[in-house]
């Protein structure tokens, strides 16, 4: 175990390098630039490659390219850059090219407030690229978790052959905390073909829905195509069943592995009347607020979403049936609250406390809201 004081952005680099990322393509943007700068410093010594691209569209394309070439690949950006990456994130989904995209969220929309935090991209992370597509989105609440979730993101990307988005924010990215780094981390490599090139079907899912991936340049000739394709990688033409099969497999390979993908953390869930649902940096405030509320005799709990997408609907629904109210705390105009409302399906009340002025959502504000809920229930 080594103990270090790192920022969230640095922890992200540490996690990526230890889980085998050897390619980074990126473009400067506040508050994510330190990730690129740190990668530029450290990758060459590890035999890896850092490229500063001409923009984010190119960064994401280069990441997909490096992934096809067999490297574990990553990029990092924020707001406007995340928008520019969206088409190529969709490409990575369709090509099934493993890769990690870190979005250190800042206040938007557009250029917005570059140095101020927000959680305004939770829906963009889910639906930013067009078409029906699955998404894995993880969101850390500490520097330590920035490290751990980056490792997890890289491993999930490889294991399930999909882009994984790590949704950090300006607070977590720049926060410095003490972290104990383990001597080693679990490292997962993408499945590679065992069959001879002649028998390789690049998009045949196999039992767990994840096709083996042949690195370009290893004798396997295959189409890595963004066009709707059949198991051989050829365009489906008029074969509607093949098109439907592809979309279903792209989704099911992730949804069938929910136990590996969907992470949450609950505190006092068994013994609560009201549960605060929070994620990322705001969950820190939420925990402080819940502790204070309990000391005032309010039966409050915390449900922290570590994975935002796939959304833990089932868990929310179970919790909602046991309690009286859910309070969703977030730094946006209320994005996840709608999803929580949908999952609770009327079983409990759903309240919202939201802040979207570039200021951190403080424990006092969440506590005030909890008191407001208590008054309403009197």
């Amino acid at each position: 175990m080594t103990t270090m004081v790192l920022s969230g952005n640095e922890a992200c680099v540490e996690g990526a390098l230890r889980s085998g990322v050897r390619f980074f393509a990126g473009y400067p943007i506040t508050p994510s630039s330190e990730i690129a700068e740190e990668m530029a410093r450290r990758l060459p010594a590890l035999g890896g490659k850092f490229i500063q691209m001409e923009d984010e569209l190119a960064s994401m394309a280069a990441v997909v390219g490096a992934s096809l070439a067999g490297l574990k690949a990553m990029t990092a950006t924020s707001g406007p850059g995340f928008s520019l990456m969206q088409e190529n994130i969709g490409m990575a989904v369709m090509l099934e090219a493993p890769c990690v995209v870190v979005n250190v969220q800042r206040a938007g929309p557009s250029t917005g407030w570059a140095t101020w935090p927000a959680q305004g991209d939770v829906m963009a992370a889910r639906w930013g690229t067009h078409g029906d597509h699955p998404a894995i989105v993880l969101t850390p609440w500490s520097v330590k978790e920035s490290f751990e979730l980056t490792v997890r993101a890289v491993n999930l990307a490889e294991r399930l052959r999909t882009p994984v988005i790590l949704l950090s924010d300006a607070i977590i990215g720049r926060l410095r905390e003490k972290v104990d780094l383990p001597p080693s981390v679990p490292v997962v490599d993408r499945p590679r073909p065992a069959m001879a090139p002649d028998h390789y079907r690049p998009y045949a899912g196999g039992p767990d829905g994840v096709p083996p991936m042949a690195d370009f340049g290893t004798g396997y000739r295959w189409y890595a195509t963004t066009t709707t394709h059949n198991e051989r990688g050829y365009p489906v033409g008029v074969d509607a069943a093949a098109a439907e099969g592809l979309l279903k497999r792209l989704h099911s390979k992730i949804h069938d592995h929910q136990d590996e993908v969907v992470l949450t953390e609950g505190r006092w869930l068994e013994d609560s009347e009201v549960v605060v649902v929070a994620y990322g940096s705001v969950a820190r405030s939420a925990l402080a607020a819940v502790k204070q509320a309990r000391s005032r005799g309010l039966k409050a709990g915390l449900l922290r979403l570590v994975t935002l997408w796939p959304f833990p609907s089932q868990l929310i629904s179970q919790v909602a049936q046991r309690i009286r109210g859910l309070l969703v705390a977030e730094m946006n105009m209320g994005q996840m609250v709608e999803k929580v409302r949908e999952a609770s399906c009327g079983a409990s009340e759903v309240w919202s406390v939201a802040r979207f002025n570039g200021q951190y959502l403080m424990p006092e504000q969440i506590l005030d809201k909890l008191e407001e809920v208590r008054r309403a229930w009197r």
């Binding site: 630039s33 700068e37 410093r41 001409e54 923009d55 406007p80």
Partner: protein
């Protein structure tokens, strides 16, 4: 244009630029030439940042902060709109950094020159992405360190020759300038403003923060850049390149490098190689 003809009116003033910022100065001088009948498109970068802190509003003409990639495309839109409204008398000006021009913005610039609407595109070239903390751009010169090309890891790539790139589009007028030669720069802006089509001016603006020199030396640094041959004052007109200023005394490039911190990691051999490359250069525009 003569010194006494330069307007005393300040249409850009009181910005949040660093002390000694030459980018801000380039904008001030541009507005002295063009006057208040101008509209500006500015992408993300130092200028949009240092001009956008309330209550300071340094632009005394309308301006829009555009998406980083899109300056020149927006110029086409505004210019086409003015044409439709019969207001071609208004100067439509883009003012973008080197990253915003030569990297993320180059596609929009290429497209806009091809579209052919009347605009003046000014690239204020401080040779890196300064606003986000000094990262390398396509216009960072060979040998300069940045935060993404730290120390000896500088990119083994030359500075992109944007003048040639825009010239090869068949642009009616393009020029390079340097803030240390203000009349030359302003004369080029004036010339561009009289051309009925797309124009491009790239002005070298030494940046104390990013290059590593004292804030009172920006003009001196610009002069050294030109006198050492690291930067040339050129024009492209009627399909031909010509030099608008040739320094009387040539300066060794080593002097220019020593005056700032970003070239510190270069070995004497590397400096010599750069000097040889400069000495062997032919006439402007020749390959």
């Amino acid at each position: 244009m003569k010194l006494k003809e330069v307007s005393k009116e300040e249409l850009y003033r009181c910005s949040y630029g660093c002390a000694g910022c030459a980018s801000v100065l380039a904008l001030r001088l541009t507005l002295k030439v063009l006057g208040e009948n101008s509209v500006f498109v500015v992408p993300a970068g130092c200028i949009s940042t240092v001009s956008a802190y309330y209550p300071q509003a340094p632009f005394f003409v309308p301006m829009t902060v555009m998406a980083f990639a899109a300056t020149a495309a927006a110029l086409s839109g505004i210019s086409a709109g003015f044409k439709r409204r019969g207001r071609e008398d208004i100067h439509v000006v883009g003012f973008a950094g080197d990253g915003g021009t030569a990297d993320i913005g180059i596609q929009a610039l290429s497209g806009a020159i091809d579209c052919g609407y009347k605009f003046i595109y000014i690239c204020y070239d401080n040779e890196a992405y300064m606003n986000t903390g000094i990262q390398r751009s396509g216009l960072t010169p060979y040998g300069a360190t940045t935060t993404t090309t730290p120390g000896r890891c500088f990119e083994n790539r030359p500075k992109k020759d944007m003048l040639r790139i825009v010239a090869d589009h068949g642009i009616p007028y393009a020029a390079t300038a340097c803030i240390s030669y203000p009349l030359d720069f302003m004369r080029k802006v004036e010339k561009a403003s009289k051309i009925n089509g797309p124009t491009y001016i790239q002005v070298l603006v030494p940046c104390p923060t990013g290059w590593g020199f004292a804030p009172d030396r920006a003009i001196e640094l610009g002069r050294m850049a030109v006198e050492s041959g690291m930067w040339n004052l050129l024009e492209f007109e009627n399909g031909e390149f010509h030099t608008t200023y040739t320094p009387r005394h040539k300066r060794p490039v080593a002097e220019y490098f020593e005056a700032q911190t970003r070239f510190r990691q270069l070995s004497p051999e590397q400096v010599e190689a750069i000097q040889r490359e400069i000495d062997s250069r032919g006439a402007p525009g020749s390959s």
